[in-house]
Every structure is written in structure tokens, then in C-alpha cells.
């Protein structure tokens, strides 16, 4: 297992390198450079060159890349062009916010989706199955920002139970912090639950056809025990990969949800950084997101043998 982890970490480096190169090129390909954003239209137009020099943007792109990569390898992620804040600290604090929301949302959607998926499979084509399938499809058919805004209209304004703007970290003030998380998590769960549930239902249907399920039944076990003890581990393995992919992509920040619910997450930071052409910040974020993605994948693969012992690492 340990050897496998080392192998995977080594194998991740080419991916990380490729991501950084692509990001470095793409952000410079996009028109508009940071100097223009900084100068804005009020100040002396002549200062563009001066600012470009100060930011080192006048050097050739490969040169800039080498310098930047050199700094990264020494752990120096550089400073934001926009507000001078250290890139790494900003990313990590914003990632903490995104991570909180994502993990709560994924846990909730898994705790709902897996049992619901298995029940839907168990009662295939009966009313319970139809009800579950149709409601998840309905939830999946609505854009997430629409869900968000409607939640705010109902719980923020009409009922006034939940704060519609602002953010308090649950780590600092748990009770108030939770209030700020309820709506974003609900919106995310409604968006993501469909994928997980469908996978759980499909793999459970497939597993229930296996011989060892009939064997379990022939031992006199109740349907519930057959589902929980025999069907669940085998059905959960494929669902785990889907979960890994969802967590991987969401950890890059759910930009839409963060914008609607004023959460200072990684998704919004990415958009602000890209739209203000904050090169060091964009490059820093995407490198960290790539690392997160690789780590999540590794963890999913390490968890896999727990549910499917045939897989040897």
C-alpha cells in the first residue's frame, strides 16, 4: 500500500507540471493584462509600461515561467498583483471555506443518496422507486443559482429564518456559522445528489442479481440484512469513484453557489483572480486545486480495497 502511494505521488508530477504550463499559457492568452486593470481609466495612461515592468511582465513568457516555478519550488507562491496579499495564505483560507461547505454537502448527499438509491433498487419499478427517481431528476433539472436565489427568497426574506448575506466561519462561532451554511449546503446537495443516487441505484440493481445475494437469502437472512451487509459493500465500490470525481471537481470551488451565497470560497477567488488578470493568484490557485484533485483521487483509490478486497494495491 505504501509503495503504491509513493508510485502514485511520483506519477502525479507530470500532471502537475502539465497543469501549470497550460495555466501559465492560457491566462496570458486571454486579452487584457493586469497593468491595465490596475491603472483603471482615471490615472495617467502613460504609466502602463512602468507598472508592467514593476510586475515583471515585460520579460518573455518562458522566462517568467522559470522564475515563477523556481519560487514555487522554494515554497514562495508570490504576492497578488491586485492587493499584495500573499497568494498561498489567501488560497488556503479560501479553501478552508470551500472545503467546509463541500464536505458537509457531500456527506449529506451521500447519507441520503446511498440508502435512497438502494431502496429504489430494492423496490425497482414500484412506486417508491419511481418517486425517488423522479424527485432526484427534478432536482437535477434546475440550475443551482436558481435554487440558491429561491432559497434566499423563501428563508431569507419571507421567513427571515436564515441570514441572506455575510459569512461567519463555524470554526469561530459554531452556532452562527452553521446558520450561514444551511442554504449553500442545501443548494449543493440538490445539485449533486442526483449523480450519486443514480450510481447507487444502478450498481445496487446490478449487485442484487448476483448469486451471493440469493445465497444470502437462502440462509434465512431478512431482506434488510441482505441489503445492508451483502449488497452495500459491493454496490458502494463503484459509487465511491463517482464520489471521488464529484469531490475532486467541487473542491476547485463551487463558483456559482459561492457567488450567490457570498461565501469567500475558492471558486469565487478563482473567478475574481481570472477577471482581474491576477496572474500569480490564478497560477497559485490552479496548482493547489490540481494537488487537491490528485490527493482526492489517491484517497479514493486507497479506500477502494476496503469495499472490494479483490483489488490489490
Amino acid at each position: 500500500m505504501f509503495r503504491y502511494t509513493i508510485f502514485r505521488v511520483l506519477a502525479a508530477f507530470p500532471t502537475l507540471l502539465l497543469v501549470t504550463i497550460l495555466v501559465f499559457l492560457f491566462i496570458r492568452l486571454v486579452p487584457g493584462d493586469p497593468a491595465a486593470v490596475l491603472v483603471g481609466d482615471i490615472q495617467n495612461i502613460g504609466r502602463l509600461e512602468e507598472i508592467r515592468a514593476r510586475l515583471g511582465l515585460d520579460r518573455s513568457v518562458p522566462e517568467q515561467f522559470v522564475i515563477w516555478l523556481g519560487n514555487i519550488l522554494q515554497g514562495d507562491f508570490g504576492v497578488s498583483i491586485l492587493n499584495g496579499a500573499p497568494v498561498l495564505d489567501t488560497i488556503l483560507s479560501r479553501f478552508a471555506v470551500t472545503a467546509q461547505v463541500i464536505f458537509v454537502a457531500v456527506t449529506v448527499s451521500t447519507l441520503i443518496a446511498i440508502p435512497a438509491g438502494m431502496i429504489a433498487a430494492w423496490k425497482q419499478n414500484r412506486w417508491a422507486d419511481n418517486l425517488i427517481v423522479v424527485t432526484t431528476i427534478a432536482a437535477m433539472s434546475v440550475p443551482s443559482f436558481w435554487i440558491g436565489l429561491t432559497l434566499i427568497l423563501i428563508f431569507g426574506i419571507e421567513l427571515g429564518w436564515l441570514p441572506s448575506v455575510g459569512y461567519v466561519s463555524p470554526l469561530e462561532d459554531f452556532s452562527r456559522g452553521v446558520m450561514y451554511l444551511i442554504m449553500p449546503v442545501t443548494a449543493l446537495v440538490m445539485g449533486e445528489i442526483g449523480g450519486v443516487l443514480r450510481m447507487a441505484r444502478a450498481s445496487t440493481i446490478e449487485v442484487m442479481r448476483r448469486e451471493y445475494i440469493t445465497h444470502a437469502r437462502s440462509k434465512g437472512l431478512s431482506e434488510g440484512v441482505v441489503l445492508a451487509r451483502h449488497a452495500f459493500p459491493n454496490a458502494f465500490a463503484p459509487t465511491l469513484t463517482i464520489l471521488g470525481m464529484i469531490i475532486g471537481s467541487l473542491l476547485g470551488g463551487a463558483a456559482v453557489i459561492e457567488t450567490v451565497f457570498t461565501l469567500p470560497g475558492l471558486g469565487r477567488l478563482t473567478i475574481d483572480a481570472i477577471s482581474s488578470r491576477d496572474y500569480p493568484m490564478v497560477q497559485g490557485i490552479l496548482l493547489v486545486v490540481a494537488v487537491i484533485y490528485v490527493v482526492v483521487n489517491l484517497i479514493t483509490d486507497l479506500l477502494y480495497p476496503i469495499f472490494d478486497p479483490r483489488v490489490k494495491l
Binding site: A11, A12, P14, T15, L18, V19, L22, V23, F26, I27, L29, V30, P31, Q124, N125, R126, W127, D129, N130, V133, V134, I137, A138, M140, S141, V142, P143, S144, F145, W146, L149, L153, G194, G195, R198, A202, I205, E206, M245, G248, S249, G252, A255, V256, T259, T270, I271, I274, V282, L286, V289, A290, Y293, V294, N297
Partner: protein
């Protein structure tokens, strides 16, 4: 009461998708009004005989914009799935069939695409190809292709062991012939199931991009764009949000129902039980 979900769902799914396609055709060829014609006098007019779905903040007819929007949203969604299918399918098949270092290289490419934000890709492409529906399709297509690579690769890996593939090789067929003649046709059924679900995600992704200000280029309407633009006016002009929102909901419901039913229907058959 046993209730044959697959057949019932296919019915509703087909109905809804049919409705959307008809709307798109009407929108393209015979819209009730010119979707981009501005009428200063009719700002945010509520639904009326002249404008059954009311008008937007430029006085444009919402009904024709929803109809034309159907065309744009469907084209961008189907375009996205086509790109994802072509790119992901072929790469997945190659990775699955040849294995070895080819598989590793494609694996690295997939991880990179997964970690890469669609937003930055969209911006870069817009600057290269110019604004419009094409960069949207390519961006979403590329980011969705990663799912196709994964699925097709595992499908090909399992099919490669099947004896009819070895029989094809025994007859002296080349590797590429075997892939396209024997392996890919047998992936079609599960790829179709995957396509329907990514179709739904494509429409949602397009609306998210519009929300972030990067959608289909104005003034051409897309559902996601209309929904995003109307979000601030839910109070005074709810019709700006209700009609496109309903259109997206019904279309996606149709696509998802069809996808679900397709999988249940295809599933038993795919195992080739006699």
C-alpha cells in the same frame, strides 16, 4: 402495484424532448416575433396577447426568445456532447485497447483536464476563436470529455477480454479495424446512456457560465442566459424567469427521464442473455 417505470418514463421523456425540438424549430424558422428586435415602448410588459410570455428589459418578446433559446441551448448541449464523445470516446478507446504507456499518457492528460477550470478554458478560447457558441461548445466539450475517457476506457478494457475480439485478431484484422468494427459498436448502448446525462449537465453548465457572464454571446438568447439576466427582476417581472426556467426544467426532465429509462431498458439486454 407494479408500475413499469422504463416504458412510462420513455413516453414522458420522448414527449418533452419532442416538445423542445419543435420549440427550437419554430424558434429558428417561424418565431412569433423577432427575438432581438428592441421595442422601447414595451419594457417589461407582462404576458399579453401580443406577447404571450411578456417582454424583457429591452422590450424583446420573451416567447420568441424562449423558442430561439431552445435552439441555442439544444445546439450548445448537443455540440458539447458531440465534442466530449468524439474526444473522450476515441481517447478512451485507445487508452483501453492499447494500454501500456499510451494509457499512462492519456491518464495524465485526463487528470490535467479534470483539474483545469472550464472558466479559464472558456476565456482563452473566446479570445482565440472569438465570442459565440463555438467556444462554449468546445470548452464544455473538452471538460466533459474526461468522463467519457474514463467510462469508454473501462468498457473497452472489459470488451477486450471477450473472445470475439480475439477472433477478430485471429482473422488477421488490424487493431484499428477491431476497435471500430467490434469494440466501439458494443460500447454504444452505455455511451448513449452517458450521453443523455451529460446532455443534461451541458445545459446546466451553459446556464452557470451565463450566470458568471460568459454565456452564449448577446443578443442571441439562450435559456441559461435569460435566466441569469432575469434573476434580479424576479419581483417586478417574474415571467422573465418563470418561462425560461420552466423550459430548462421540462427539457432536462425529458432528457434525464429518457436517459434513466434507456439505462434500465438497455441494462438487461447488454449482458447478452439468450
Amino acid at each position: 402495484m407494479r408500475f413499469p417505470l422504463p416504458r412510462f418514463n420513455v413516453l414522458i421523456g420522448a414527449l418533452l424532448i419532442g416538445l423542445t425540438v419543435i420549440a427550437a424549430l419554430v424558434g429558428l424558422f417561424a418565431p412569433p416575433a423577432n427575438p432581438i428586435a428592441i421595442d422601447y415602448t414595451a419594457f417589461l410588459a407582462p404576458p399579453s396577447p401580443a406577447h404571450p410570455f411578456g417582454t424583457d428589459d429591452f422590450g424583446r418578446d420573451v416567447l420568441s426568445r424562449v423558442l430561439v433559446g431552445a435552439a441555442y441551448s439544444l445546439v450548445s448541449a448537443f455540440g458539447t456532447v458531440a465534442v466530449a464523445l468524439l474526444m473522450g470516446g476515441t481517447l478512451g478507446a485507445i487508452a483501453g485497447f492499447f494500454g501500456g504507456w499510451v494509457d499512462r499518457v492519456i491518464g495524465i492528460l485526463t487528470d490535467t483536464l479534470m483539474a483545469f477550470p472550464g472558466l479559464l478554458l472558456a476565456l482563452a478560447l473566446i479570445s482565440i476563436i472569438g465570442a459565440g457558441i463555438l467556444p462554449m461548445i468546445v470548452t464544455l466539450g473538452v471538460s466533459f470529455s474526461t468522463i467519457y475517457i474514463r467510462v469508454v476506457r473501462s468498457l473497452v478494457l472489459s470488451l477486450r477480454e471477450r473472445e470475439f475480439v480475439e477472433a477478430s485478431r485471429a482473422m488477421g484484422n488490424s487493431e484499428t479495424f477491431t476497435i471500430f468494427r467490434h469494440i466501439l459498436p458494443n460500447c454504444i448502448s452505455s455511451i448513449m446512456v452517458l450521453a443523455t446525462s451529460t446532455l443534461a449537465f451541458a445545459v446546466l453548465a451553459e446556464s452557470a457560465l451565463s450566470f458568471l457572464g460568459l454565456g452564449v454571446q448577446a443578443p442571441n438568447p439562450s435559456w441559461g442566459g435569460m435566466l441569469a439576466d432575469g434573476r434580479g427582476l424576479m419581483g417586478q417581472a417574474p415571467w422573465l424567469v418563470i418561462f425560461p426556467g420552466f423550459a430548462i426544467f421540462l427539457a432536462l426532465l425529458g432528457i434525464n427521464l429518457m436517459g434513466d429509462a434507456l439505462r434500465d431498458w438497455l441494462d438487461p439486454w447488454m449482458e447478452g442473455e439468450a
